[in-house]
Subunit: 90 residues, 2 copies
DNA sequence: GCAACCAGTATACTTTTAGTAACCACGCTA
DNA sequence: TAGCGTGGTTACTAAAAGTATACTGGTTGC
């Protein structure tokens, strides 16, 4: 729970599952999350090795975030959790 | 995360896996958790249907908490999470 | 030159969660 | 009858998590 808990980490991983996504795109996907939150969570996920940060070009500054193989193993478990919540009546 | 998150719920379910446990016994098992914390989490788990509360009013007031079948399905997933954290280097 | 977009940073604030300490009513035992 | 253990409750504080808003410095397109 310390590693994957909180309001946003699972959502971030979920939104990265189909490939790299840019910072602002991700912010929009997450709707209610402030940039600060997205930024903080991404930094944590990067330190944890679940996500990688890549600067695509300096000129029009572009950064993408991509889920790692290790991050996908986390996502597998999060999907099981999701299935469980959907089977029950929460 | 809203359902199973927080610092104590997973530990409580874990300690109930081998059968009913009394309130104070559970408090001691959880070490650093105050009675208030244990009480609050148990109430939530009861509302969620993961745990049942039974008053065994033998005259010396005794209450036990027991994990439900549904609670065990949650425990299965929490064990997967635990395995995952142990495979990685957290 | 201006607006809008990019990837952030800074600061202040509110809300939620965790935790402490003291208390109650009851029963048992020395 | 004093002190312990049982299952709580109440009032409070501290810390973590999240929100809001403004800001920087650069780029793109008109």
């Amino acid at each position: 729970m310390r590693i994957l808990g909180g309001k946003w980490k699972a959502s971030i991983l979920w939104h990265l599952k189909d490939g790299p996504v840019r910072f602002n795109e991700l912010s929009r996907m997450l709707g209610g999350a402030s940039k600060k939150m997205v930024d903080q969570r991404l930094k944590e996920l990067e330190v944890q090795g679940l996500v990688t940060r890549e600067v695509i070009c300096d000129r029009p500054i572009a950064v993408t975030y991509e889920i790692t193989e290790f991050g996908r193993t986390a996502l597998d478990i999060l999907e099981k959790l999701k299935d469980w919540t959907e089977e029950s009546d929460f």
